[in-house]
Assembly symmetry: C2
Homo-oligomer: 144 residues x 2
Amino acid sequence: MAKIKRNTIQRQLVIAAVRFLADHPTAEEVYDRIVMEYPDISKGTVYRNLNSLVECGLLGRVSVPSGADRYDHILSRHYHIKCSRCGKFMNVENIDYIQGLDEKVAAATHYKMNHHDIVFSGLCPDCAKAAEEEEAQLLGDDAN
Amino acid sequence: MAKIKRNTIQRQLVIAAVRFLADHPTAEEVYDRIVMEYPDISKGTVYRNLNSLVECGLLGRVSVPSGADRYDHILSRHYHIKCSRCGKFMNVENIDYIQGLDEKVAAATHYKMNHHDIVFSGLCPDCAKAAEEEEAQLLGDDAN
DNA sequence: CAAAAGTTGATACTCAATGGCAGAAGCAGA
DNA sequence: TCTGCTTCTGCCATTGAGTATCAACTTTTG
């Protein structure tokens, strides 16, 4: 894809929206946000801009297992966690990017390493609780 | 999705195909393989079976950034690497599942942790070489 | 200010994956 | 082996995310 050459209102809006939404908006969410103040923008433009902004490093993209990609106003590299029940997706705070891992993998694979993403998967506190209750219920009437 | 209750030919074929294809086939690839010897199978059935087999732990699923999901006859947990240029996707050999990381994240997030996936991103040897040549070219005629 | 080239909006389209449903097939139990 | 209850399958329509196309419109450069 082409490098960014011009400065358009739409692109500013995309950056602003990702920044405003902060917590990993999807392209759809970014679009919805922008439409509120600039109803003429088209979805294609949002997608295009998200792509080129990622490509030139102004935004980060996180691919979410079975879900739309999410965008990130990058401050620093960090990992993500997804609740396998409700799908909630968030940053993992307090765990730093693992140093040396990329180098180790580069040595093992002969790839020219760029970075790595880790997505943790588990149950968020709410869902963990709900799951426990469900299980108790199942033991009760032993359905299925 | 419902648990597996019956043993159908189609399901056997799906398992066999994933095992045979070994290197992370997509649902489509699994389908193509099965059709060769059992032309009546439908794509829906392949998808449904892949889903339920993953759900009951007989197969693993890997979500690939911008690409179809891939399935895995699980032997042990391992990480993956994707070439950001040609999209090639493969296992990372020689790097073991990082012990203790899930526990650390569980402590930090209060999630009931299940596992984590790491996808490394970089250029495969071929693409790294190609990229270097491209770059040399650009320096030559300084286009754009 | 005009020409050149990047961008946009609209819309059609692709591709992965799911949903709905009638009919077929697996799996008890008689 | 037959019966009948369910699960599964095949078919096909549908959803959803994201891309392609292209004329019209802006931004930039000179």
